[in-house]
């Protein structure tokens, strides 16, 4: 679309300009030109900052947190695009995007065992292990931010607050408040029974069974029907920290879901 040419258009423009100048405001297209100039200036400031402090961002998780929070406060997302200045010059992008890849891979590798639910702790440990001894330090805050970015790819990445930390969900299983609350209840021992739910949450048996059935179906819970007393519903995501041998996908599919 070209701007109107011809005397009519010119006159119209002159009137518009006059009107804006009257109000002391500037035309958008002039502002875009201004922005382009300011952008160049900003870019060189950022380059200077990067030359002095790029290492700090790489090495210091606390500094990263500060940086991220400041960006959020002013309305800037340094991780929006790999083509953004922040990413290109400070290298923050690559750090978090690579972390994203590592998170996805860990979750995928363990999905057959825990149904797509893993504690932030375990995820942290495994990601660190995968990165090796000499890689940059990665904090849980870093993981959380990387996960927030992954959400945009629609694969059901989410975080459920449980026991002072989080469970990271990596499958699109529908988990509502009821499911979440039962997960939180199960956090202490790694398993939960219908009686415990009824007692702690004051629910009817049907409601408890309904929630537990859903967790079983989604592969998030395993049923131990031979437990002394009453059937126990175990959450593999939660008991992974106790010693348990790794289960291969074939074995997992043979076990009672």
């Amino acid at each position: 679309m070209r701007r109107g040419v011809g005397t009519g258009a010119i006159a119209k423009k002159k009137r518009a300009e006059a009107k804006y100048k009257e109000r002391g405001s500037v035309l958008a297209e002039d502002q875009i030109v201004q922005m382009s100039k300011q952008l160049e200036t900003f870019k060189s400031h950022l380059e200077e900052f990067a030359s002095k402090h790029k290492q700090e961002i790489r090495k210091n998780p606390q500094f990263r947190v500060q940086f991220q929070e400041m960006c959020a406060t002013i309305g800037v997302d340094p991780l929006a695009s790999g083509k953004g200045f922040w990413s290109e010059m400070l290298g923050v992008g690559d750090f978090y995007y690579e972390l994203g890849v590592q998170i996805i891979e860990v979750c995928l590798a363990l999905k057959h065992r825990n149904g797509g639910l893993i504690t932030l702790d375990e995820l942290h440990q495994r990601v660190l292990k995968g990165r090796g001894k000499y890689a940059q330090e990665v904090s849980q805050d870093d993981l959380v931010r990387a996960i927030k970015k992954l959400k945009v790819m629609g694969n059901g990445f989410g975080m459920i607050p449980v026991g002072g930390s989080y469970l990271v969900q990596s499958v699109p299983a529908e988990l509502n408040m009821d499911h979440t609350v039962v997960l939180q209840l199960a956090e202490k021992k790694g398993y939960v029974t219908v009686s415990e739910i009824k007692e702690s949450l004051n629910w009817q048996k049907e409601r408890a069974s309904h929630v537990l059935d859903h967790l079983l179906k989604e592969g998030l819970a395993w049923l131990d029907s031979q437990a002394a007393g009453e059937a126990q519903y175990w959450l593999p995501a939660l008991f992974s920290e106790l010693s348990s041998r790794d289960v291969s996908p074939e074995e997992a599919s043979q076990m009672t879901p």
Binding site: K13, Q38, V76, L79, S81, G82, Y97, Q125, V152
Partner: protein, 382 residues
């Protein structure tokens, strides 16, 4: 805290690492020690703690000093802790950060979790008592240790001074960095405000903005990481960059898609592409924005969102009818199939094979049997 001694090397001969945990703060009894949060290392012989910034000044005590340990669960605003009860320090103990303490126990506070595993390993080491079998020989100074070794000879005062110097230098670096960061943010904020003003004007159609200028504006927003508030375009937040990317992806993904039955989850694509790149990685948003442009660029790929929210890239050539028809064939042949069985049959991921079955069900070709044993699909005979 008076049981700790300074140590300037990480491991000594015959000593092996068992586990380490970042984000640990030390407590002298119930009081926080005047140290930063650091990393706790458990070896077969000692418990070591270090502030990562001061590599050649760590604290340690032998595991044999431990009488017993307890766990202290975390709570609201409180991190989980391990309480370690210790024997009194022996007379010939090497100097450490505290000369005396009124407490006979210390605590490790786990600010970044990891307490459960650490406790388990510590318990294990205390049961195994491996330090009794293999006494540690004299410390071997590694690389950075050599400097520290010299300062040790100068005595405690010399060490404290060195730490103080390092801390000041670090503080200076950090505060300079923060100051520079704050100044940078002020300038960034100006950019944000300017872009908001422009966006408002575009919305209110003040002035005469050409398409060219709009495209340029969008690329400025992309560079700064400012969300695009003007949502009238059909290509999402696509810019020239995303256009290029879209074409690249079109080329790059053909073969992998063919190998995987014509469909890949977006997260799979993300990993594949970024692993291949190694550097200058794509952000998740970059990928989504590029994929959204497949259709308008007439590339033979499509971005597709299932009801469940799962996003996939699929080859145009693999039409929906074909997929559903073949799904129906497979299920009829076997009588019934679960998502896992279907996945194995086709060599697809379980996630995507489930989506296909759900799609076939939605079209009325399959029906489900949903029980705790799993979700099984049958041909729809109704």
């Amino acid at each position: 805290m008076d049981r700790f001694s300074w140590t300037n090397s990480r491991t000594e001969l015959n000593e092996t690492y068992v586990i380490e945990q970042r984000g640990v703060r030390l407590y002298d009894g119930d009081e926080k020690a005047k140290l930063n949060v650091g990393t706790a290392f458990l070896t077969t012989h000692r418990l070591i703690w270090g502030d990562i910034k001061y590599e050649d000044s760590c604290l340690a005590f032998p595991l044999s000093q431990i009488i017993f340990i307890e766990e202290q669960a975390g709570g609201l605003g409180k991190s989980a802790k391990i309480v370690i009860h210790l024997h009194p320090a022996p007379e010939n103990k090497e100097p450490g950060p505290y000369n005396s303490s009124k407490y006979s126990y210390i605590k490790l506070s786990f600010k970044e979790h990891g307490q459960i595993e650490f406790y388990r390993r510590l318990t294990e080491e205390m049961t195994l008592k491996r330090w009794e079998n293999t006494p540690i020989s004299k410390p071997i100074s590694t690389g950075t240790g050599s400097q520290g070794g010299r300062t040790r000879a100068v005595g405690i005062v010399g060490i404290e001074r060195k730490i103080e110097e390092k801390r000041k230098e670090l503080d200076k670096n950090i505060s300079e960095a923060f100051e520079d960061l704050s100044q940078l943010m002020v300038k960034a904020k100006e950019m944000v405000e300017l872009s908001r003003s422009i966006a408002n004007k575009i919305k209110d159609k003040q002035g005469d903005i050409t398409e060219d200028e709009t495209v340029r504006f969008k690329s400025y927003l992309l560079s700064m990481g400012i969300a695009n508030p003007v949502t009238r375009e059909t290509h999402g937040s696509g810019t020239h960059y995303h256009l290029q990317l879209s074409k690249q992806l079109g080329d790059m993904l053909q073969a992998p898609l063919e190998e995987r039955g014509g469909m890949m989850a977006l997260t799979e694509v993300y990993c594949l592409v970024n692993r291949a790149r190694g550097m200058e990685l794509l952000s998740p948003e970059d990928l989504v924005n590029a994929c959204k442009m497949f259709e308008s660029l007439k590339l033979p790929l499509r971005l597709r969102v299932f009801d469940s929210g799962v996003m996939v890239v699929q080859l145009q050539s693999h039409s929906e009818e074909e997929m559903i028809a073949s799904a129906l064939d497979n299920v009829s042949e076997k009588g019934s199939l679960t998502a896992e069985e279907f996945a194995k049959l086709l060599g697809l991921s379980v996630l995507l094979s489930k989506e296909r079955l759900l799609l076939a069900e939605k079209m009325g070709h399959l029906c489900r049997d949903d029980s705790v044993e799993g979700l099984r699909f049958y041909p729809n005979l109704f």
